[in-house]
Each structure stands twice: as structure tokens, then as C-alpha cells.
């Protein structure tokens, strides 16, 4: 089966004068429809840049990004194939939600990219109500402003905004890294449920190994702009081959280390 998304030899070089910085080099992986693919790495590894090159926020300087077999980039021009087909959820809902917009306007904003008829259909009051309750908020929340919500609630708003256009593919860039553990659990559960209900495909970007292990089917480990290891989550966690992956796994301060009795948990 053809992959939904395929990256081949993707690179991103930032240049200033005679200096150049290779943020991403020769990155290749593919994501099948319905899969959750994890991208893990430390700060500066280039994982977020990849998310941006897939969603059209940064143009690659090398390689090809294919979505359903069609190239997403012609030089620095992003070919918007089907508007709303792809969405992104960012780490910090504090900065990714406009503080002066009401929740209803925030959630409906991605519809601006759609043709008028589709916009009316997808932006109907019933759909908005159904979506806001589906992500665990209430209808009366639609009239409020972002500052009236907790971090977890704000991330639910960001998720609703991503889903309003009925995307097939969602990039999740550290979606729970700013949240408390108990709140993170709610958001991860919600993301899993939504994926099943809507046949979504996720690219899950995170620095958190435990979250990647829990959420993803396959994963790639990034270091300094390059992929050092790709494989199924089960394989990589059981027997990491690359030295850097091994270091990452052994650095993880985890309850595994102390062999917690799970029967009490």
C-alpha cells in the first residue's frame, strides 16, 4: 500500500550571509494511513522543523515531501492540495491561541481556507457544538476567551480547532509537554479516541520517550538534524541499535528503574 506521507532526502539549511546551518539533513521516512508515527529527539534535533515542512510553515531546501503521492513543495511554494486536509497542534496553547479571540472564532478560523459552501457546512452551529463537547468542553465555553481556561482546556480548544476541517492527517508537536501528568493523561486519551473515531493519521513529535512509547506504532529517533534509527516502537524500546537511542533510553528517569509493583497501581 502506498504511504500517506513520504519524506525522501529532506533537508533544511538556514543561511545568513556566508554562514549556513543544517537544521535537517537527509531525512526520510514514511507514514501509512491510520498510523501514529513518533518523532523523538532533544532540543535542536530538528524534529519540529520537520513538522513545519510537512504542514507548509517552512520550505525544505532539499528532498521531496509526498502526500498521497503528490509533492507538497515546488521549490519554496507550498502546494495546498486539499485545504484543511492537514492540521497541526502546538505545544503551548498559551501562545498558540489568540488571546483576543473568543473560543468559537478560534475553533472556526481554519475554515477560512475552505471554499464558501464547505465553510458554511463545516462551520454550522451544530457541528461546532458537537465538536466542543466531543473534546470535553461545554457549549457555553464557546463565548469565552482563552485566558479563562486551564492549560489542559486550552489544549482541548487547540485540538478542536485542528479537527474542524475534518483533516486526515494531524501533526502533534509536543501536545502535552506543558501539561501536568494527570492532565496529560486526559489529553492523550482524547487523542487516541479521536484517532479511532475519525481514522486519523498522526505525526507525534515529542521529547518524552514514555509518551512516544504509549502513543505510537513506529518511530524515528533524531539527533542533530538526522535520523539515527527508525523502527517499530516495540523493537526500538526492546533493543535499541543506535548508541544515541541507547543513551536516550538509559537517561530516562523512569519508574521502570525501580521496578514498581504494578498490582498496586
Amino acid at each position: 500500500m502506498n504511504p500517506l506521507l513520504q519524506l525522501t532526502g529532506v533537508g533544511k539549511v538556514y543561511r545568513r550571509g556566508s554562514q549556513s546551518f543544517h537544521a535537517v539533513s537527509e531525512v526520510g521516512f514514511s507514514i501509512a494511513r491510520g498510523e501514529t508515527f513518533g518523532l523523538i529527539g532533544e532540543s535542536g534535533s530538528g524534529k519540529s522543523t520537520i513538522g513545519k515542512m510537512i504542514t507548509g510553515l517552512e520550505s525544505p531546501t532539499d528532498g521531496t515531501v509526498l502526500y498521497e503521492g503528490a509533492s507538497l513543495w515546488t521549490g519554496a511554494k507550498f502546494n495546498r492540495l486539499k485545504p484543511g486536509e492537514m492540521q497541526i497542534v502546538f505545544q503551548d496553547p498559551q501562545s498558540s491561541l489568540d488571546p483576543r479571540m473568543r473560543v468559537s472564532a478560534i475553533i472556526s478560523e481554519p475554515l477560512q481556507a475552505l471554499p464558501a459552501a464547505e465553510r458554511r457546512e463545516k462551520g454550522s452551529a451544530e457541528r461546532l457544538h458537537a465538536l466542543i463537547t466531543r473534546v470535553g468542553l461545554k457549549m457555553e465555553h464557546l463565548g469565552r476567551f482563552p485566558h479563562e481556561f486551564s492549560g489542559g482546556q486550552r489544549q482541548r480548544i487547540a485540538i478542536a480547532r485542528a479537527l474542524i476541517t475534518d483533516p486526515s492527517f494531524v501533526v502533534l508537536d509536543e501536545p502535552t509537554s506543558a501539561l501536568d501528568v494527570s492532565v496529560q493523561a486526559h489529553v492523550l486519551n482524547l487523542l487516541q479516541e479521536l484517532k479511532r473515531e475519525r481514522n486519523l493519521t498522526y505525526l507525534f513529535i515529542s521529547h518524552n520517550m514514555s509518551v512516544i512509547r504509549y502513543m505510537c506504532d513506529r518511530m524515528a529517533v533524531m539527533q542533530k538534524g538526522r535520523i539515527v534509527e527508525t523502527g517499530t516502537v516495540a523493537d526500538i524500546f526492546a533493543s535499541p541499535r543506535d548508541a544515541y537511542t541507547q543513551t536516550l533510553l538509559s537517561s530516562l528517569p523512569s519508574l521502570h528503574a525501580k521496578k514498581v509493583d504494578t498490582e498496586y497501581v
Partner: protein, 322 residues
């Protein structure tokens, strides 16, 4: 005990409200011990640290409780005595190293200034000492780093400098509030190891405030679990993480993706943290608890021994026999 907090209550008042941020918090730290204080946002873990350091905002009041450090009541100290205590006796490390460092002063000078002040030695000697202390936090080429400015260093290097700064006096107690939260896991691993080594080598006690149970498991001997401004459970790390007795501790461990089966939903805690302006009259966790009884809604449980055989393990729960 080096530090002993007894039934500490802290309130913040604004124009309209009074928020009880801490209620009857008791905890102690022995010499050389690393104690983890763990909790989520709003649990009161940072307020506890700020109270010890005498760094609470002006709108804070302490209606009850005591903090005894080496037999002295810290809450009775005046500004000058507190200043002498901070830095010299009690060091601190916060989450964001950049906020603790002077942005336009070279690393060596920043360290030398503190050492010069606390140890009453000449500036020249203090500078030499500064280079030594950089080497002690395992910075390669300390002479070179001493001549650099904070912005020239990575986050992990900056946090090493802050630890060197905090340890320079050297203090008997180090309060570290989320010291590795802004760092990558591999760097976090090194910083935690470094803190452990410094503690073992010099007998420094560490109060490690964190939201991360994994960090507690890695470095702490004892742990204090806080929820909504109260201590709900305390014991050795082994006791609390292996056999958590408080439903909140159990739920917190259950919410971690670390041990979860990928195809099973995570056991998320229902509801939200209580409004600290109107604390519930019973147990602070009762409204979210799967095991609550009528008594839980009416009377607050006190921190008591969880099991007959282990006196170190204490829990504030009406159903501790569970």
C-alpha cells in the same frame, strides 16, 4: 533534623479573596538526605520552598506553623538574618538558570563575588576558588568557562554554573525547584547525578521539588507527595512508589504513560483540583476520589502511619487500611 516544618499554613490575600496555599504542611529533612517534594501545579511545593527561604510576596501571611532550621525558628528571623541564611546556609537552584545568572557579567566574576562575600577572602582568592567550583560541577576547561558570559553557554552548562553558585558557600541545605525541567533528558540525567554526588561528598541535604516521579525514583531517598497545598503521603521512595497508599498518589502513578499498555486508556483522574479560596471541609481529594466514604467529605484526615510495621510511611486518608 536539619530542617523541620510543622503544621505550616500559608495564605495569600488579594483585594477580594484569601487563598490558603498551604494547609498544615509538615515535613523534615535530615542531614545528608535527598528528599523529593512532588506534586502538580498548585500543589504548594514551590510555596513551601519560598516560605523556607523567606521569599514570599508581601501579600502572604503565615497564620500557623513553624519552620526550624538547625534548631532556630526561621519564621522569626528578620530580613538581615534571613539574607545571611540564604546563599550561605541554604542554597537555591531554580528551573530557569538564565534568571539566576547576571546576563552581562562573566561566569567567573559572578561566582567570585558570592564566594568573596560569604567566605571573607580576597577577591583574587575567591576567583581562583570559583574556577575550582566550576571544575567540581564537572565543567571541562573551567578557566575558559569562567571568562564566558551566560548567553554563551548551553542550558545544561548554565544549570551547572547555578549549582556551582548555590554550592559555593557551601550550604548545608540545597533547595532545588524543578532544576532539570527545562533540560533535555540526557542533560537532566547528568545534572541529577551531579547533585547526588555533591550531596554524598559534602553531606549536603537536598530538597528536590519536582513534578516528575521518575526524577524522584532516580535520586531521592524519601518523598513527600503534595496535593492542593497539603501533604497527602510521605515515606521512603521505595514505600511510596511501590505501595502508594493515598488514592491521589496511586492515580498519579496510574496517569503516567511509563507503565501503561499502549492499547489501554491511561487512568486519568476525573474532575479538577479544588478551589483554594474555598477549601473543602473534608479530605481535599475526596471529590475526585474513587474510594471516598461519607466521612471523607466531612472531616479532613490527618497524616498517620500507613502500616503498623513501617513508621516512615505516612498517609492522610480515611481509608489507609485499604
Amino acid at each position: 533534623m536539619l530542617l523541620e516544618i510543622k503544621e505550616l499554613t500559608v495564605e495569600f490575600s488579594s483585594m477580594h479573596d484569601r487563598i490558603r496555599a498551604l494547609k498544615n504542611v509538615s515535613l523534615s529533612i535530615a542531614k545528608g538526605e535527598i528528599v523529593g517534594v512532588v506534586g502538580e501545579s498548585g500543589s504548594g511545593k514551590s510555596v513551601t520552598a519560598l516560605t523556607i527561604l523567606g521569599l514570599l510576596e508581601k501579600n502572604a501571611t503565615i497564620p500557623a506553623g513553624s519552620i526550624t532550621y538547625k534548631g532556630r525558628n526561621i519564621l522569626a528571623l528578620d530580613k538581615k538574618e534571613l539574607q545571611a541564611l540564604r546563599g550561605k546556609e541554604i542554597g537555591m537552584v531554580f528551573q530557569e538558570p538564565m534568571t539566576a545568572l547576571h546576563p552581562t557579567m562573566r561566569i567567573g566574576d559572578q561566582l567570585a563575588e558570592v564566594i568573596h562575600r560569604h567566605r571573607k577572602i580576597s577577591y583574587r582568592e575567591a576567583y581562583q576558588q570559583a574556577v575550582v567550583s566550576l571544575a567540581e560541577v564537572q565543567i571541562n576547561d573551567p578557566e575558559l568557562v569562567a571568562r564566558k558570559f551566560p548567553f554563551e553557554l548551553s542550558g545544561g552548562m548554565r544549570q551547572r554554573v547555578v549549582i556551582a553558585l548555590a554550592m559555593s558557600a557551601p550550604p548545608d541545605l540545597l533547595i532545588a525547584d524543578e532544576p532539570t525541567t527545562a533540560l533535555d533528558v540526557t542533560i537532566q540525567h547528568e545534572i541529577l547525578k551531579l547533585m547526588q554526588e555533591l550531596s554524598a561528598k559534602r553531606g549536603t541535604s537536598i530538597m528536590l521539588i519536582t513534578h516528575d516521579l521518575g526524577v524522584v525514583a532516580q535520586v531521592c531517598q524519601r518523598v513527600v507527595v503534595m496535593y492542593a497545598g497539603e501533604v497527602v503521603e510521605t515515606g521512603t521512595t521505595e514505600e511510596v512508589l511501590r505501595q502508594p497508599k493515598h488514592p491521589y498518589t496511586q492515580a498519579l502513578i496510574g496517569a503516567l504513560p511509563d507503565l501503561a499498555e499502549p492499547d489501554q486508556p491511561l487512568s486519568a483522574i476525573p474532575g479538577e483540583t479544588p478551589d483554594l479560596r474555598n477549601r473543602p471541609c473534608g479530605c481535599v481529594f475526596a471529590s475526585r476520589c474513587a474510594h471516598s466514604l461519607p466521612v471523607c467529605l466531612e472531616e479532613p484526615p490527618v497524616l498517620e502511619q500507613a502500616l503498623l510495621e513501617a513508621s516512615s510511611h505516612q498517609v492522610a486518608c480515611w481509608r489507609r487500611d485499604m
